[in-house]
Amino acid sequence: MNGIIIAMLLALLIPIYEAYRDSHIWQKMLAFASIATKTSMMILVVSVLRDDWMIGVVGVLILSVGNAALMLLAHVIKRSDEAGVYEP
């Protein structure tokens, strides 16, 4: 169990580093999408390994809600993008 989770944690560190380093808003959003999916997949893996289906249901809900938050935020940022906030 430790090995799988530690491997997933190392994979999670890659988009966190990307989110810290990138200075473009859409690259940060990409890193956010990656992290939101990875964390909810980790919740699902932990729930299966512990055989705890209460955490499993919450993992599925967070998987869908995390992407909903991403789409809402992307829409607001896209409107600002069209108005020229992020022009070089």
Binding site: I6, Y20, I25, F32, A36, I55, I62, I77, R79, A83
Partner: protein, 186 residues
């Protein structure tokens, strides 16, 4: 009670260390939009940590309210408050290079420029008086002055930001604002 220092539970300690790491990343952001994205990342990591400790209800609330609702509402608040509304006259639009030059001093403050068109000079002045816009841009009578455009703002802070910008001063004249009082501060 989980024994955290047991070798079996080492992964919980490793994952919980992500929480201060991502919280630190939120603090160092300067751009408000970047900070919102990092807040979303912090919410995702926090939900993971709460679920690992067995608090499924707290994790669900963090994902629904702490991440989805709060960053959406904050994004809308930031988008509608960090803005300079500039009134213009519709058939006599200012040239694109003037608008680009006007955006330059606003960019360090993450201010957005929004153009609000008006049909004539009288309604433009009335909009500035009624505080519908933060500033107006129009071309004055060419017989009086040789500068093609004139910018007037009623917000003293915007006048401070714009007045020090040299390329803008060669393209348009910036009218001084009234004295700062509590009534004209946005």
């Amino acid at each position: 009670m989980i024994d955290l220092w047991n070798e079996e539970n080492l992964y919980i300690v490793a994952i919980a260390a992500l929480l201060p790491l991502t919280a630190g990343l939120v603090i160092v952001q300067v751009n408000p939009y970047f900070a919102l994205v990092m807040r979303g990342i912090l919410g995702a990591v926090a939900a993971l940590v709460y679920a690992l400790f067995g608090a499924a209800d707290v994790a669900l609330t963090e994902a629904l309210v702490g991440t989805m609702l709060s960053i959406t509402l904050y994004a809308i608040a930031v988008r509608s408050s960090l803005i300079m509304r500039l009134g213009i006259i519709e058939p006599d639009l200012p040239p694109e290079d003037l608008l680009q030059t006007l955006r330059q001093p606003l960019r360090p403050y993450h201010l957005r420029l929004e153009l609000v068109p008006y049909p004539d000079q009288e309604s433009l002045q009335a909009a500035l008086q009624d505080k519908e816009v933060h500033g107006i841009c129009f071309s004055p009578n060419p017989e009086i002055t040789h500068i093609p455009y004139e910018i007037q703002t009623r917000v003293p802070r915007l006048y401070q930001i714009l007045s020090g910008h040299l390329p803008l001063e060669t393209m348009a004249r910036l009218n001084p604002t009234p004295e700062f009082t509590p009534t004209n501060s946005l």
